[in-house]
């Protein structure tokens, strides 16, 4: 299956992804409606996009007492059936990454569903920090990021010399 790979080393916290997701969910640009959230920490100049990884062994899915969470057979996405969700929030407590959000207006949990296979966050990501890739490619992408960081570090250490 394909997932939204996140590269904090490329993210600039422009929030285009949040707007795109919020728009799909709600028709408006309120961050609170977005399933992907980008946290920006000024002190560290760190940008951290967080979105569901559709874990192979999804704890939220297993633990839902309403059996409202399932895996989409087409995309492999872990999805919440809003008509079944009772709003108990067990999934919020189950997700170790904070990637499930509660919609206070509808009273149900909400999360990324990969937009049915064409994630809008990726279409809106102008830095390229988000990529919709095969899960198997992930390791390669991580290596690429690490290699680049090393290269840059080398250049930086030379530069500071």
């Amino acid at each position: 299956m394909r997932i939204v790979a996140v590269d904090p080393d490329a993210c600039v916290a422009c929030r285009d992804c949040e707007y795109a997701c919020a728009f799909r969910q709600s028709g408006d640009f309120a961050r609170s409606a977005s399933h992907i959230r980008v946290n920006f920490y000024a002190d560290e100049r760190a940008c951290v996009p967080l979105t569901c990884m559709h874990c192979e062994d999804a704890w939220c899915l297993a633990v839902c007492p309403a059996a409202a969470i399932d895996r989409d057979p087409g995309t492999g996405a872990v999805t919440i059936d809003a008509t079944r969700c009772a709003g108990c929030k067990m999934c919020l407590l189950a997700c170790p990454y904070g990637n499930i959000h509660f919609n206070a207006e509808t009273g149900v949990s909400a999360k990324c569903d990969l937009c049915g296979g064409d994630p809008m966050c990726v279409r809106a990501c102008i830095s390229g920090a988000l990529r919709y890739v095969d899960a198997e490619e992930l390791a390669d992408l991580r290596r690429e990021v690490v290699d680049a960081s090393l290269k840059r570090l080398l250049r930086l250490s030379k530069g500071v010399r």
Partner: protein, 679 residues
Amino acid sequence: MQTGPEIRHSLCRMCDDRCGIDVHLEDGRIVDILGNKDHPWNRGRLCAKARAAVDMIYHPDRVLTPLKRTADGWEQIPLDQALDEIAGRLADVRDRYGARSIGVWKGEAIGFGQQETVARRFAHALGSPNYLSNDSMCYVGRYMGFTLVDGAWPIPDLENARCIVLWGANPPYAHPNMTQYITAARRKGATLVVVDPRMSAIARRADIHAQVRPGTDGALAWGLVRQFVEMDAYDKAFVEDHTIGFAKVVDYARTFTPEMVEAETGLPAATVKAMARMMADAAPRMAAYVGNGLEHHENGVGNIRAIAMIDGLLGALDHEGGTLFKEPAPLRDLTLYDEMPLRHLSPLGTDRFPVLYDMRQECHTMTAMEAILSDEPYPLRALVMTGANPASTNPNSPKVIEALRSLDLLVVRDLFMTETTAVADYVLPAASFLERTELHAHAKHQIVSLTDKVVSWPDVQGEYDFWHDLAVRLGIGEYFPWEDETALNRWLLEPTGLSLETLEAHREGVEYSPPRVGRRRQAGFDTPSGKVEFASAYLKDLGYDELPVYHRPAYRREPDAARPFVLMTGARKLLYLHSRFRNIPRFRTAIPGPEVEMHPDDAAALGVADGDTVRVTSPIGAVDLPVKVVAENEILPGNLQVTHGWREANVNLVTHDDRFDPVSGFPLMKSIEVSVQKV
């Protein structure tokens, strides 16, 4: 009749980057806009502005019928009547004051495109040299700085660079998809330096964020030049073969020691050295890009020239991974400057800012306001503008409004009512970028493409139709012989050997010539000397500095104790473009209103917190703004930033229309001495 879902390929023009888009239609109505995955520039990715073009096009406040000001307010009139009356009144002004008393102004609100050359053609056909545009406050300063040195403004080869240096530029907000290219380079190990008084979005990713004081970039550039010389790290062969003025540069740079640069810019001397080392190590694969942040200063062009010199010193010019010279598309030229030169008619501002006209055939908009109000050097009595909103975006707004109000005739074509239409005599509906057909050239990829009318409204004209219809009524119809936009496009395209049909089949664009690197090194640079001009005889002859001598900003040279803060204006927000898009509700949800960005220390000293209102006062005027306290490292203490274009708090109430860069004539908008009081 029910027509199924349909996708039309086009280009977004919510800003000037022209990303490839797929316009989704249902029953002839646009329902969504997504990135075109085949377009070489954006590769399917698209910022939040682009998709919201749907909201703009179908906005309930769109102006869709011609409006005429009457004693009782706006009256809706038929298009033909509007054109007849406007032509009649223009003819009156021409007869009474001469053709040059009529000005034509190009804005950007309808989407960027060929409107510029049609408008220029119309002005000249009419006999007026007074073509005005917003370019003279954004873009032209940089074009000038680079062209004076390199003969053109070369394009950074970001994706192949080993070091990228951004000066006063924030691509994620200003050129969103440029960020992809920076990421691509960084993924190959490239380093990134961002020179900006603020921690912009892109500065979050910088290996070095060179947080210099506003307007001191020139000192840093000279400091780097000195380091390259000291380190013996410049490209001797390139300097020898392709540049003039190197000895003078070495001599002048001598005083710019890292310590002196630290004292002037606030950047630690060690960082200056590190930055120089990083750039030199990467050379010639060092790609620099200068943003609008450098332009709005009294020393803007000088600073930009100093930065431009670095490309030459490091041999990065016309080199892969450095900066590239693109060949312009061989389209026919619609302007009449060669056939019908009108410089003898004294285009407004040319006497004071000759380079502006020499290089861009632009008039100086601030001088135009003076001319309207004073009839000096000669009257300017009528303006016809499309998609421009100078009442918001020009400095010293009250004076602009006073001037526009006093015109005999102001015609504004726009999508919406604006601060400027508020003082117009006629408001005509303008066609948005999906409501007209036009040709585009994308220099980076050396491609031409064609965008088509996707939707239309009965009384809404495209640019060509409007100028054509007006020209016919004014007896200059012979200059507009083409039946419609398509006929014009066919004529423009002819020299390329490509057909409109080819472009229709390849909406992502067709290459007009393969990009070549090294052409300038072989054939010479497009400057008077054919060399890269560190020293400019042309400027010297005009009485300017031969070298890009560093002039300290006024607030550094003669600090004003009564105005201890330095105000920067005009930093782009992702969702807004100048004064545009504030009426798109979802944008307002995300970025609800204006604010003055302030360092926590300054907020503490003023006793203000987020949301409190302060009054910002300059010699020009005052504006009240809610405070936004940013993080310690996001802005320097003593500096403020306010984004322009808010109707409810217009920062151009305090910007200068009386202090300019001497070469470009750009107004002082980014290092303004102001005082701040809690309200």
